[in-house]
């Protein structure tokens, strides 16, 4: 597909959002609530925060994979049971203003919910969702997308992309789904010159330069897996409180639990977010817990992001948004943990070789 791109002014961009709302889409975009930036379905284009940088406190994953959702409901009436399935998505959804890292996070969710057996609820939502990402013109202190193979202008997971440039908002179409979203192009929109690509590259270099984290290397995956039993994990896990806030704010964490909530008349089977850092996550009905210690659970989360892979060149499951770093009550930093683990494992290897 030929790349189509335009340069929009802010008011043109808002007009476009307006037209998306008028066309019956549920447009989910960053808005400010009590001083916090959050993704919310828009009622008006004016509420959307069109900022060249800064990220929402939560990733947008809950609009594909809700924190808690009923898988089915039932009512009991005498001896009769009536089962009610959850409704299909009523309106097409546009995830608007998703940062590049978060758009990449959605692909990590696809890997879990769509490869092999498809999760029907997730698949229906995904099918009716179009992602309009927004590149970053500045990095937050916790950002580290470039350290895990991403980019502040990364296109992965986006159907359309907005890039904040001095010349205006560059809007690029990346997929057919993206193209289908706006139908007729507003004739007042200005085509972006091919040379604009240079400006995008400049932006990418500038923002990447603000991220002072050394990269997590692909070959570390094997080192980490080889050092699975290394005693360094005891030390590294020691500071984790086990609160699992990291997993909750993570754009790619996909663990869930299923619960039966019921009373005498009705009930529902409910799927809710869970986290591998919780003790009961792997607690078997038999009473056995294969990850019974705190260390094992912390290691699991880190290694699932960086080590456990089917193929060597598979991307990391961490997209570098840095929310877990910014929001950890104990100030833990997953990149520091991985770096320290690799160093400790290699050091032991070197000692053994001597």
């Amino acid at each position: 597909m030929d790349r189509t791109q335009w340069l929009l002014t802010e008011s043109q961009l808002r007009e476009w959002v307006r037209s998306l709302l008028d066309a019956g889409n549920s447009v989910v975009a960053p808005v400010e609530e009590d001083g916090v930036l959050l993704f919310r379905p828009l009622t008006s284009e004016e509420r959307a925060i069109l900022a060249p940088s800064g990220k929402t406190r939560w990733s947008p994953k809950e609009f594909l994979f809700p924190r808690s959702e009923p898988l089915y409901r039932y009512t009991l009436d005498g001896g009769e049971v009536e089962i009610e399935n959850p409704p299909a998505p009523q309106r097409p959804q546009v995830l608007f203003g998703v940062r590049s890292c978060d758009a990449g996070g959605l692909l990590r969710l696809d890997e879990i919910f769509l490869s092999g057996t498809k999760d029907p609820l997730y698949a229906a939502r995904r099918e009716s969702t179009t992602v309009v990402s927004m590149a970053c013109a500045a990095a937050d202190p916790e950002c580290f997308c470039t350290a895990v193979g991403g980019s502040p202008v990364g296109e992965e997971g986006s159907d359309l992309q907005l890039v904040p440039l001095e010349e205006g908002w560059l809007l690029r179409v990346l997929t057919e789904k993206g193209e289908a979203l706006f139908g007729d192009v507003d004739e007042r929109w200005q085509d972006a010159p091919a040379a604009i690509a240079k400006e995008v590259e400049k932006l990418e270099r500038r923002v990447a330069g603000q991220i002072e984290r050394s990269p997590v290397k692909q070959e570390w995956s094997k080192t980490l897996e080889d050092g699975f039993e290394h005693e360094a994990w005891d030390r590294l896990a020691q500071h984790c409180l086990g609160c699992s806030v990291c997993a909750y704010v993570c754009p790619s964490c996909s663990c869930f639990d299923m619960n039966h909530e019921a009373n005498a008349w009705c009930g529902e089977q409910c799927r809710s977010w869970d986290a591998c850092t919780f003790a009961i996550f792997t607690h078997h009905a038999s009473g056995h817990n294969p990850r019974s210690t705190h260390q094992e659970r912390y290691r699991q989360r880190v290694l699932h992001k960086f080590a456990f892979k089917a193929e060597d060149d598979e991307p990391f499951r961490c997209v570098g948004c840095g929310r877990c770093v910014a929001l950890c009550p104990a100030g833990l930093d997953i990149v520091d943990t991985v770096t320290a683990a690799v160093a400790a494992i290699r050091e032991e290897g070197a000692d053994a070789a001597r």
Binding site: W58, Q238, L241, C243, A262, N263
Partner: protein, 250 residues
């Protein structure tokens, strides 16, 4: 009333109060949207706050408050003998609650401080389970009515029930509350059992741990986090002691 085709009986429930503010009982009577349904499932034989009935023959006893007098010891023993199931309701019943702070003082001195020259007979405060065996404990100051309803359903129909094992932090994130630690408040959220829906941090107040510890907390690290953020030993110890839930680990 049938559940999964099986006719169930309305269990006879008695609600009893000991040393405490009766706020937990009030919670039971408060939640109007489910009160009628709740009452249709049970047969209240004794519940001072909502009914003048004071019958006997209850099978389930919901007990609020801590034990702090000799006559209370006798009464709770009697309740234990009558009840098939004894449920401790609220932080006072489960841990001793705020009342327990009295135990840090000389008993006579505390008595004089409160009652002046008309001292009352008093004992060191104990949780219900320190006096008689308890079948179920529902912590919280006050208890969550929703949780009590689930426990009662569990007792009547064996509807599965388990307390959340995770800490309050999660419920703050769930409701988009900005971490009060970030705002310079001391908060026991990272080590306290969730299930309350984190109302205190949502109102800008750090968690006081009324529900006791979450399952498997990293207590040492919590202490070092609190210290690093500049809270003094006294502040931390006072906070942990407040409801008595962290006794034994604090």
């Amino acid at each position: 009333m049938k559940y999964l085709g099986i006719e169930s009986q309305r269990p006879k429930i008695g609600v009893f109060d000991f040393t405490g503010c009766e706020g937990c009982q009030l919670q039971l009577a408060n939640k109007e949207e489910t009160l009628a349904a709740f009452l249709s499932c049970i047969d209240v034989v004794c519940f001072r706050e909502i009914s003048s009935a004071s019958g006997e023959g209850f099978t389930i006893a919901l007990v609020e408050g801590a034990i702090s007098r000799e006559d209370e010891v006798e009464r709770i023993r009697w309740i234990r003998e009558q009840a098939e199931v004894l449920v401790a309701l609220g932080s006072c019943a489960c841990f001793g609650g705020v009342n327990r702070l009295k135990n840090d003082f000389d008993l006579d001195e505390a008595n004089r401080e409160v009652y002046g020259d008309q001292p009352k007979p008093t004992l060191p405060v104990r949780a219900i389970n320190e006096v008689v065996p308890v079948d179920l404990e529902i912590p919280g100051c006050p208890v969550s009515k929703a949780e009590v309803e689930r426990v009662v359903q569990h007792l009547i129909w064996e509807v599965p029930f388990r307390f959340p094992a995770y800490p309050v932090c999660l419920e703050c994130k769930q409701r988009y509350t900005v971490c009060v630690f970030e705002m310079g408040e001391l908060c026991l959220g990272p080590i306290t059992r969730a299930g309350c829906d984190a109302p205190c941090p949502a109102a800008g107040l750090g968690c006081w741990g009324c529900r006791g510890p979450a399952q498997e907390t990293n207590f040492e690290e919590f202490l070092s986090v609190a210290r690093e953020r500049g809270f003094s030993e006294d502040e931390i110890v006072d906070r942990l002691a407040f409801f008595g839930g962290f006794r034994g680990i604090a």
